[in-house]
């Protein structure tokens, strides 16, 4: 298990180095940074000075190595707009975003799991058809539209939930739903199809032949085996949860790092954007690692001894 963890961690570090390469490339792809930072009529000499100060005149590999060296210490330089370290902007808000992402994930699993199970156990009935229709609708609805509709109906018309900001759990419900939107239908469909597959397995028939009752067979042999593909899917979905969080944060004025990134993009505050992208990658890579561990706990066949 320890060797598995060490290998998995080295792998994650490699992925992060790749991400940093792209993040650094972002800076060059957006054109001359000095054009954004200095007035259009600034002297060439001033521009040169600024480039030298930020190391922008070094050859690319040197820049990359220096950049990585600073990035691993959480140093992405100062925000171009405000004289504060860029990483600080992002990291102080990361907790809020992680909380929102976790709520979204919890909603997807708590609603999608039972819906998928019901759909599989009542295959071909109106329950199944309804659940699948809800799933298809969820996949078709754009998240920003759902956000606006939620504000309109639950927030403004019914006045049940606060429409912006953060505070208690009620502030998390609507943005959480928006974050859950792309993942929930995936959970429903994957769990349904994997349950239908598992229900047909010989070991399920053998458990029934042992006289176990329906719920016992389901709880002991079906639910867990069928959950394995969900873990795989969640690994893919972490990225879409993070991007969903950005949308939700902007719509609901939720003070997370996605909103910070959104402002930074509008202001062309590249350093903050870089710090954000790095932070998101860090979250995705870490959750993927945790999911791999969860996977090996669910399925002993992939466990490395």
């Amino acid at each position: 298990m320890l060797r598995f963890l060490v290998r998995r961690m080295l792998h994650s570090i490699l992925v992060l180095l790749g991400v940093l390469f792209v993040v650094h490339g972002l800076l060059l792809l957006t054109g001359d940074p000095t054009a954004a930072l200095l007035p259009p009529d600034a002297d060439e000499e001033v521009r040169e000075n600024l480039r030298r100060k930020h190391g922008l005149d070094d050859p690319f590999p040197v820049q990359y190595v220096k950049f990585v060296g600073r990035a691993v210490r959480g140093d992405f330089g100062d925000s171009f707009r405000q004289a504060r370290p860029a990483f600080e902007f992002v990291s102080e808000k990361a907790g809020e975003t992680i909380k929102l992402g976790a709520v979204g994930l919890a909603i997807s699993l708590a609603v999608g799991g039972p819906l998928g199970a019901l759909s599989a156990l009542r295959k071909g009935t109106w329950i199944d058809r309804t659940a699948r229709m809800v799933a298809a609708m969820g996949q078709a609805i754009p998240d920003f539209w759902l956000g606006i509709m939620l504000i309109l109906i639950l927030g403004v018309n019914l006045n049940w939930l606060p429409i912006s900001g953060s505070g208690d759990w009620r502030h998390l419900l609507m943005p959480g739903l928006v974050v859950a939107l792309p993942t929930l239908p995936a959970v429903v469909r994957i769990y349904r199809s994997s349950l239908i597959g598992v229900l047909d397995r010989d070991y399920v028939r053998a458990a029934r032949a042992r006289g176990l009752k329906g719920p016992q067979v389901f709880g002991r042999h079906v639910a867990r085996n069928a959950a394995i593909p969900i873990v795989t899917v969640l690994a893919f979905e972490v990225g879409s949860i993070m991007s969903g969080a950005l949308i939700a944060e902007v719509i609901f004025a939720y003070p997370g790092m996605g909103r910070v990134a959104y402002q930074a993009i509008i202001n062309r505050d590249i350093a903050v954007v870089q710090a954000y992208v790095f932070m998101v990658s860090l979250i995705v890579v870490t959750t993927n690692m945790l999911l791999d561990i969860a996977y090996s706990m669910l399925d002993p066949r992939v466990r490395v001894r």
């Binding site: 458990a207 042992r210 006289g211 176990l212 016992q216 042999h221 867990r224 669910l298 399925d299 066949r301």
Partner: protein, 333 residues
Amino acid sequence: MAPDTATGSSQVLAVEGLTVSFRAVAGVVPAVRGVDVTVGAGETVALVGESGSGKSASVLGMLGLFHPDSAAVEAERFKFEDMELSAGRREDLQDLLGTRIGIIFQDPQSSLDPTMKVGKQIAEVPRLRLGLDRETVRRKVLDSLAEVGIRDPEWCASAYPHELSGGMRQRAMIATVMIAGPSLLIADEPTTALDVTLQAQVIDLLATLQEERGTGILFITHDLSLVSEFADRVMVMYAGTVVESGDTEAVVNHPSHPYTRALLESVPRLDGGQVRPIRGRPPDPRDLPSGCPFRTRCDHAHERCEQVEPPTFRLPSGQTIRCWLGEQDGEPC
């Protein structure tokens, strides 16, 4: 256990006029069309037939292991031990399955849950069905693993199925089924997925367990040669009916139904006898030929076979056959 089962004379299972029909999109498929089965305590009865002959459908059907929406099961009589039950009724059988009736399936690899430790699976019946306490269950699990010939029961109980060899898996499977000491053991092709050496070992093991406990065994197989050394009685199934039935010796040495003969000739033998495959293929149960269902592949078929499905005749050699050939020497029964 009832006192009379030890004598080996009482009947564990008695089924008469069993029918199983599957509900398919295209209509109702009659898979089993009137089958009588009896298994005595300590007796081994082999149900032999090609795939699709209805042998598994009979057994799984009468034990209520098909979903009631997908199969209709009926029998004139269904008696297990001293209980008159209705065949295929899940509610009737729920309490018996796993405790009084054990079922071993073909593929031990896929019959064990890959994500649960072997010991925990074996413990399910004593734990959940018999409600024994943790310590007793633990001891029983280790005992039963030792009994099926596992050398290191502690290790085996804490292993996952994929860590065991094929033979050990089937032994573990047998342990799950035998742990509660069932009086009837259904073995559905238990050795088909194993190689020949393991086949012999598993059959020896079943025979030993049977001798110790007086279990009645209903052994489903497509391999008539396997049966000859092991079963007391043989029932040959074709297209949903029993075409020949009797003591193993009578059926194997004096096969009387053309299908049984053809089946025996289609098996390769050590003495180098000619292997003759049976021509044609089993009929589609949705579209059985008129009269005798075997007539399209039978060398003895004549006009009458086409018109009337033959009744069952009892032959002087002891067995019964469902063929007009039995009319000469046999008595209709």
